[in-house]
């Protein structure tokens, strides 16, 4: 989009296009303009170059939905669980729809969000929601930095000394971070999925095929976990791993519902009516048991990491 002559703003890289709201960042003569679009209206915030104290860019785990979404997922899974006890057919239908939405949302998350940006002025720190991709955010931060340094007449290199010279006591209690909150929220989910597996009696599957498929599924999950764990900080890795597991729990749950719905003919001591379907169901069941095991292990690791990262009163 080309700028009009009467229009004093230039577009900065990075924009967020949501269904109900969006945001973008514009470079003005002496300030940056943050535009929050709520479809029916636009809200503006201006950050004058001379007032900007700091800009933060934090790379996040690619799978990092907001805690509210995690709560919604947990409630959805609970609803399906309740339905699966009373009305199997409906639960299977709903399970499919739910999984579809869940995977679409997860795909959207991994594709689009990779960082959190915030801007600090004397009045406080604001989140710049439009800068949510590392590449675009870095370009925007560099352009803003140039203007801010020109306006404030400083050179960036002399700042670290000043920061170092100041004493660094931690007077205020740091706010509980999003990732930590999210980490705690994933724990009930993990417990729920474990309970789901335990809820069903575990008869030994009569086909070696099912057990093998379950083991393969678990191996794939572990490979994905290892792949993610290799990408950076340990805490972030576990966060990502937990989200992969969250997604798989949806699959696992679907497998359980499938078992619940179609496994009546293969209760031990009865004949098998539809071998292919029940074999698939058993494979899903076996996979889900493996996933639940991995879930429980991951829960312990997360709890340990969360407790270790709990901000302490004393200085580091």
């Amino acid at each position: 989009m080309t700028a009009r002559p009467d229009f004093p703003y230039r577009k900065l890289p990075g924009a967020r296009h949501g269904i109900i709201s969006g945001a973008s960042l514009w470079l003005g003569i002496d300030h940056i303009l943050h535009v929050k679009n709520t479809r029916f209206a636009e809200d503006y915030r201006r950050y004058y170059f001379s007032d900007i104290q700091a800009i933060y860019l934090q790379r996040t785990a690619r799978f990092a939905p907001p805690p509210l979404v995690v709560i919604a997922v947990i409630l959805g899974l609970l609803a399906i669980l309740v339905l699966s006890i009373t009305r199997h057919g409906l639960a299977v239908e709903l399970g499919w729809i739910f999984l579809l939405f869940l995977s679409a949302y997860a795909a959207w998350l991994c594709m689009f969000r990779s960082c959190i940006c915030s801007i600090q002025t004397a009045l406080g720190t604001d989140r710049l929601s439009c800068l949510h991709r590392v590449t675009a955010a870095r370009a925007a931060v560099d352009r803003i930095s140039d203007h801010v340094l020109t306006a404030q007449g400083g050179v960036q290199e002399d700042v670290p000394e000043q920061v170092e010279a100041t004493p660094q006591p931690l007077e205020h209690k740091p706010p509980r971070s999003r990732e930590q909150l999210f980490g705690w929220l994933t724990l009930p989910f993990i417990l729920l999925s474990s309970v789901l597996v335990m809820r069903l009696p575990l008869p030994i599957p009569d086909t070696p095929f099912a057990a093998a498929l379950g083991a393969i599924l678990a191996a794939v999950i572990l490979a994905v976990l290892a792949l993610i764990a290799g990408r950076g900080g340990r805490f972030r890795a576990v966060q990502g791993a937990l989200l992969v597991l969250t997604l798989l729990c949806g699959l696992e749950l679907y497998g359980l519902i499938l078992v619940n719905t179609y496994s009546q003919p293969i209760h031990i001591g009865r004949t098998v009516d539809t071998p292919s379907l029940t074999q698939f169901a058993w494979a899903a069941h076996m996979g889900s048991i493996w996933v639940a095991g991995a879930n429980i292990a991951a829960a312990f690791v997360t709890a340990a990491l969360l407790l270790r990262n709990q901000p302490s009163r004393s200085n580091p």
């Binding site: 989009m1 700028a3 703003y9 577009k11 514009w26 003005g28 003569i29 002496d30 300030h31 303009l33 535009v35 479809r39 029916f40 209206a41 636009e42 809200d43 503006y44 915030r45 201006r46 007032d51 900007i52 104290q53 700091a54 933060y56 860019l57 934090q58 790379r59 915030s118 600090q120 004397a122 720190t125 931060v141 930095s145 801010v148 340094l149 404030q152 007449g153 400083g154 960036q156 700042v159 670290p160 000394e161 000043q162 920061v163 100041t166 660094q168 931690l170 205020h172 740091p174 706010p175 971070s177 990732e179 950076g232 900080g233 340990r234 805490f235 972030r236 990262n309 901000p311 580091p316």
Partner: protein
């Protein structure tokens, strides 16, 4: 102000601040890029008493008779001291002009909210498509309102950032379609009632069989 990690809130070591590439927070291991500017370490600018002192022959501030005027308001021309002047994108304003200008939306840099009438009109026009069942009952309202909003706010200030008029045009087209649909329904009802009346009278005149006997 202490530069703290946005994730864990602990103060960051100097090697993380203003580093050319992303670095890890030693406390929580999150990957960060932190740009700190001189404004962070500078104390809040305090106006020196010397700048306010009124000397012999100096003009005094309109609001403070004992303080020296350093500038004048670009809108009303009143003399202002260093305390009263407000610098807004190179424009000097007095506090009262700033307030009235902000209230009347004359000063673009003070506006922090604008209603997007074009999207509102478009959503009203498209509402029967977006929410098919409940909105169908209201097309006699939503269509005309969409057209009205489009025409009424065609020239209203829309957004601070560039925006074209396509939403208004689509809203008018959709509004006209809704009005057309309402007209068609009314016409259908009218003709069907006219077509029904003779049949109704006919059925009254034609004698029925013995079943209808009371």
């Amino acid at each position: 102000m202490i530069i703290a990690c946005p994730n864990c809130g602990r103060s960051l070591p100097p090697e993380v601040i203003n580093a050319p590439e992303l670095r890890f927070c030693p406390a929580c291991n999150s990957n960060l890029l932190v740009r700190v500017f001189p404004a962070n370490s500078r104390a809040k600018a305090v106006i020196a008493p010397a700048a306010l002192a009124l000397a012999e022959g100096d003009a005094s501030c309109f609001h403070h008779a004992t303080k020296r005027a350093v500038s004048s308001c670009s809108q009303c021309g009143r003399f202002l001291c260093a305390l009263c002047e407000v610098d807004l994108s190179g424009q000097i304003l007095c506090p009262s002009c700033l307030e009235s200008g902000g209230a009347k939306k004359k000063i673009r840099n003070l506006e922090n909210h604008r209603t997007l009438w074009d999207t509102t009109a478009l959503l009203l026009g498209a509402s029967p498509l977006l929410l098919p069942f409940p909105m169908l009952y209201f097309i006699f309202l939503t269509g005309p309102i969409a057209i009205f909003l489009s025409i009424r706010h065609w020239k209203s200030p829309s957004s601070l950032i560039p925006r074209t008029k396509w939403r208004f045009i689509v809203a008018i087209v959709l509004g006209l379609l809704q009005v057309g649909a309402v007209a068609a329904i009314v016409a259908l009802l009218f003709y069907s009632s006219r077509a029904y009346r003779p049949r109704f009278e006919q059925s009254k005149t034609i004698p029925r069989g013995p079943v209808r006997k009371r």
